[in-house]
Symmetry: C2
Subunit: 222 residues, 2 copies
Amino acid sequence: MRFGIIGAGTVGTTIGSKLVRLGHEVVIGSRPSGGGRAAAWVAEADDGAGEGTPAEAAAFGEVVVNCTPGAASLEALAAAGEENLAGKLLIDVANPLDFSAGSEPTLTVANDDSLGERIQRAFPATRVVKAFNTMNSEVMVDPSLVDGDHVIFVCGEDAEAKARVSDLLGEIGWPAERVLDLGGISAARATEALILLWLRLAALAGSYRFNFAIAPPAPDRG
Amino acid sequence: MRFGIIGAGTVGTTIGSKLVRLGHEVVIGSRPSGGGRAAAWVAEADDGAGEGTPAEAAAFGEVVVNCTPGAASLEALAAAGEENLAGKLLIDVANPLDFSAGSEPTLTVANDDSLGERIQRAFPATRVVKAFNTMNSEVMVDPSLVDGDHVIFVCGEDAEAKARVSDLLGEIGWPAERVLDLGGISAARATEALILLWLRLAALAGSYRFNFAIAPPAPDRG
């Protein structure tokens, strides 16, 4: 399948490399100001990797993946072009983190709205599925790095789009029973806010190699 | 030890009953408008259970536990009386949920502030520790109801106060390695927001008997 990835940072290139290794064609789109990271990625990646502008990447992809910093995502997707996103599945991986206030990061949108919802409202002809945004990029593409039945959350308005994301997650190595569908795109409020807890836990563990799990009822207790 | 619990709802009475069973003395404080739930609780509880006004409960407790609905907590604690809380450990169990907007609950405070911080600011002579607020009350007092290494989060400004809460959690049945200290009281932003995810997961599971766990690195992966 053809993927367009918007954003050439660690998240975009990590997901891009995994998709190429799985045999997909990937174009990473970034701005001229991106510092040449997409070109450096293409030089090191396997066959099937390309780069271009955000609009070229979006036009190339049957599926588009938003891997831009959340605070810049709406602008970046506007640059990618509404016409290049229309009718497509857009996987939104971004968290709207704002580090400008100093040591305590906050979210640029939270509680009664979310980045996922804002993207869905801004691109009504696009089927937005929020996914991958509650863990480190290394874990996103290799869940076996973390022990136990840890989970990945998806949400969005379109059931068929979510089913496609679940299939892709299966290809990456996420068993279906660990893909938790939280409902409509407003559930992005819950998963984006989880990054605040993730940041605290990463500081506590001194590591990014962990993930959230949901512990079930004890079988021997009524 | 003597505990004063503010709030006679399910959370307050569940924690109160557990503390009484552990041999502590507990006074649950509620308003005259509380519908007689505290009196009903005393009638069914073991020896050591009492009831009174919020101020009487707070004055009685060496430790005070805030089990009021989060949206009403500041008002309820003001009624309990700053002088009755001064110098004491206050365990804040509340989540500032607001269901008034309809089907999608939000928080009355979120992102760049939290209920835990507001309580700490309003009662600077009190040592506030946020705890218990990321699970159902049944699980709070009996972690064996849930399988696996699920966790409980604590945060607050005072290390000695957090150590006392960890000791209490150990008495209740929480092993020390599953009590995660997230740092200062501003970490309440992260744990209070987790209730949004908890509500989604409860709807998905059709059950309240679950909890969050943190999956560690896989031991066989470098």
